[in-house]
Symmetry: C3
């Protein structure tokens, strides 16, 4: 039952309650609300926009692939199978989509106070016109209403892309990807700007299963010898250029730590050869793997200086912490857990090599909020090449976004940050996420104005910069 | 002198000042204010309720045993002896209780802005009907007033238990405890529900002084051979069953770190035997002690899965950091200091063994607030067996309770938390502590409502859950 | 363009917007606003007050030496040379001061939301009577206006010292300093109280370039043999006494970590001799350097107990993180970066030796905010010798000052803190910094009052203590 005084999508949502501050937030937000969405980092599927086919059922669209959703339900005892996740190599009859949807509705209260609730309320209300929060009572009806609409042309991927006001959307692909969907999008004549980003983890992290096969494929795609250091680097250069030809303006690196290294060329070459040899023999050491990943961040920065691709570093997650679950269901089941993450020592080799380069942009993210004020803001407030990515993953939430501004602004300012990233596979929630970020930035700025720490005309300028100008500029879009 | 506009116990205390938000907080609080107190974790003395004798003088009741009180006064130069603490093995004439009370009153300003001030204002005003803050001027009069009332039947332990509205109160005992007071309570026919909790640290931590003697006594009580691995584990099972027969629904583990281990049976047995041998010979290694404690957490989880006792882990305190003080006065003198605490690697063995068990509940606490958003909320928002204990010890305070909700809710939700624990020896302050927690939860929820992040009817449901339903459910009460 | 509704220096700046809370903050602030400034820790140049000559041009006065200013501009691509910083040993024609000023004005938007903006707005408006924020449009005019005023007697150092209401100002000097400027100030008959503080890092840290020469000079100044352990310690005692004779009441120690040691006398002597020998031979080990610094903190505490100097420990900065920049421009270029800092283990030797001494005061600072609630407040809320320094460096900012109070007060109270330090070289901004700290403390207290956590009459007492009484008392001024 909805409280009529508090509809799911109140126009003042996420604004401070204090009336003066709220009025300022409203004025700031009014100026940025309708700006086009710049989505420079995310994980949507380019095939959607290439094929432009209708999306599947509500559960497969909104629930099963969303790790925020399945992790919360799993934590409260709902088996992953009940959410449509299929165990590897087991005989399994998945539940009907309607059943998954009802299970979700029966547990919707678990999301109270979470960003998932905000995003899904937005999707249900704004995209599908459903009234009030989801409940067991309205689950079947809501399911039907979504299904009906998904079948209409207005809910095809390209139509929604346009309806959502997306100016540019970056997907993320491995160097081994053919970018065929990006090619198809271009060939189709559709003007939507969907670009790729170069994420070389599978050919950079020697602990990735299938590393040697990946290198073989890399070499084949690039036409170089991937088992020589020079050929391997040349293959990266070739694939980066190929990605750039499909609009990519950035690379992305998801490493366990932020460690970087700056070996001499001979040492780097010797390390590469030892890594290849020991991966093949099953004797790769953890230390070599870590040093190789660390060295490759510096190599990638060197290439970025040549080809202009912006570099993103996403460190600090212990992937697949739940080993039994990983064995049964694979990755991305909501079991990635943040770790304490060092930046000051870790980035020292990279920053000492390239941190003073004004032509280079390195965007760093964190899952360890204690590093905001202690390490990241001080680093970004000094090195010309460094910028801070927005509050990430678990911290892409109202409180998390606010803490990011509260803990970075005074040392790094606004202009060493890069606006918002939605970083999502959940296409339907992209506008909700950008809207939340804009609202929180306006709320933060409104407090500065209300406390006479910034004139309102300047705050308006900043709001516009954060919502639109800074991401375009930082990602060279 | 009391400001008449700001009495010590204002009905709106701890609520946000912004009028709309305050009005919401009031409405939420009105619905949970009078709910019975569930106190599933604490350190009151069961003898009080067994004997039901009058409490002693105000200083011995409210000051000398309260480590929050004595640590603050000691930090500002008041000797512990002046507070009634007796040095070990020294000739010492303790000050008169009235003198201790006056010393305290003269330093009451030190507690401005601390939870001790909130709790003691509540005890003086609500329990004893004293007006205004304690001062040197009213110290003697206040002392007398408390003494008079303590002598009356209405201030005996059982009468206060009932007056305080306590539905269930858990104490904490060692496996070596006979639970005689719990037996006496049951035998008395008094219906107050006072239960025990199983805290095996003295027979689990081989660095405890007297460890071997403790094991001997454990074996004698349980009727098993405590120096064989199987006999030792069987003794735990027997004592856990004994505790459960006195209403215990939980175990509690206060370890220096959160480290767990999952050794094979032979390795565990060999470790146990080495630990016993080296403790006897005085050659116990720190590494063996740590691994043994780590392994025992996993053994305790295994037993919890069998007998249904909820498991609590309280890690991260450097006990008795002030060595000279410890030598003179012993433990619990306010010199326990929190340390950075890792959970992600530390709990990995335990969670990989039992974290997916829906029949198991492990409640984890922290003294390291940086772990809330980085580690604990992500872990609890994934593993079915894991729940987050409330803000603990130094963080059981208005700002601390608020930070707990601000930093855990968005990732773990409300339903992976377990309501409030008072965790106290200070019986008289129990209602004040629960009241503060309810007020802060309502204040947090009121902000969500005022910012249109949660409808008020749902917030009311959550307030009720946090105050009453969740602790009963999580602790199986 | 200034928003007329929001002048640069609104009388309510930094106060919460909520009207009831703001009204309380105003009342508290009205009582502390005009209190004299106690500046017990800073880095102004005593020569200014000795010579009392006019300050130089606006750029050399306000921009080039301010590491907050140059780090932000450098981070956004402005070369240090363009800000008047001269590279070591390179031929370089520095830009005209007017040009530097214009460069700064063109980038003034970068400081939105930072304390530098607050301080500089205050200096421009209050000290120089300039209207509105600095812009490219008014840069030339502003520059001229500052120049004109700097040429007048009212803008000489002593006149400003008096105008600023400074009761006492501590500078910081090395034991190798002759204190000639302090002597000249005394000899001049000017009554301004400018005192020194003893900062022995150059003769305590064996990794300092020129360490052996420093010891030689130390011995010459003190008349002892600086290469024997006893002579070295005696030299410290002599120089401390010399500093005290010029009003010094404190020492200051800027170490990479907070590590302390408590070696026996022979071990300490042997370590000293090994350090001297290995520094000479170029074979100093990092471990010996760290242990020597650690031991010297304990030696300094021992001397403080003898001579009454208050001891300050400022740990946790990675100095000159940007090696290429350091090589070109030297230290203090905005490239010092905080690191995670341990206090619990690090201070254990020192606190176990001297932490219970009521006659000793050790003031500890941090750049790692995660230690506030976890380590520092618990330590300071227990050890009689320990006090918490205020939010430091990157955290001397509205949000940082507020977090300090929010995260330390509940455990350490107000009375284990020591009021505010400006810690600055930027003489003109000293009143702005103290004013901001007073406003934030009043804002914090106002919230306690508005939430009925503290009566207003007591809050007023605390506000006065924080602004004036506590720093005088803690620093024995």
């Amino acid at each position: 039952m909805t409280d009529p005084a508090h509809p799911a999508l109140h126009p003042d949502r996420l604004f401070p309650a204090e009336p003066t501050t709220r009025a300022i937030a409203r004025r700031l937000y009014a100026e940025v609300r309708a700006l086009p969405i710049i989505s420079p980092h995310g994980h949507t599927d380019p095939r959607w926009f290439a094929a432009n086919e209708p999306f599947s059922d509500p559960a497969a669209l909104l629930l099963t692939p969303d790790h925020y959703v399945i992790r919360m339900l799993y934590s409260q005892g709902v088996p992953l199978e009940a959410l449509g996740v299929e165990p590897n190599g087991e005989r399994h009859t998945p539940p009907a989509p309607e059943t998954i949807w009802r299970t979700f509705a029966a547990h919707y209260h678990l999301f109270r106070g979470t960003p998932t609730r905000l995003w899904l309320d937005w999707v249900l209300t704004e995209v599908f016109g459903v009234d009030g929060p989801l409940t067991s009572a309205n689950a079947a009806q809501t399911y039907e209403r979504i299904c009906e609409q998904l079948a209409t042309p207005a809910f095809r991927p390209r139509a929604l892309f346009e309806r959502f006001g997306i100016e540019v959307l970056a997907t993320t692909e491995s160097p081994l990807d053919s970018l065929e969907h990006h090619a198809a999008i271009r060939a189709s004549g559709w003007p939507g700007r969907v670009i790729s980003a170069y994420r070389p983890d599978p050919v950079v992290d020697p602990e990735t299963p299938g590393f040697i096969a990946h290198l073989e494929r890399l070499g084949a795609l690039a036409g170089t010898d991937p088992f020589s250091w020079r050929g391997y680097l040349a293959a990266h250069r070739a694939r980066r250029a190929f990605f750039a030809s499909f609009g990519a303006t950035s690379t992305d690196h998801g490493h366990p730590t932020a460690r970087t290294a700056d070996l001499g060329e001979r040492d780097a070459e010797a390390l590469f050869e030892r890594v290849v040899r020991t991966v093949r023999s099953g004797e790769l050491s953890g230390a070599d793997a870590e040093t190789f990943r660390a060295q490759m961040l510096t190599e990638m920065a060197r290439m970025s200086l040549e080809d202009g691709l912006v570099m993103q570093i996403h460190p600090g997650a212990w992937r697949n912490h739940n080993t039994p679950l990983y064995r049964r269901f694979g990755a991305n089941m909501g079991a990635d857990i943040p770790m304490p993450t060092d930046y000051v020592a870790a980035l020292h080799p990279l920053l000492n090599r390239f941190g003073n380069e004004r032509a280079l942009t390195i965007i760093v993210f964190t899952l360890d909020e204690s590093s905001y004020s202690r390490e990241l803001a001080p680093l970004a407030g000094h090195y010309p090449a460094l910028r801070l990515g927005p509050a990430w993953w678990f911290h892409d939430s109202p409180e998390g976004l606010l803490r990011f501004r509260q803990q970075t602004t005074e040392t790094a300012g606004f202009y060493n940050t890069v606006g918002f990233n939605d970083d999502t596979r959940a296409f339907f929630s992209i506008p909700a996420r950008h809207d939340a970020a804009r609202r929180i930035d306006c709320a933060f700025l409104a407090r500065l104005v209300a406390e006479h720490r910034l004139p309102e005309n300047e705050a308006l300028h900043v709001a516009h910069d954060l919502a639109y100008r800074l991401p375009k500029q930082a990602y060279r879009l």
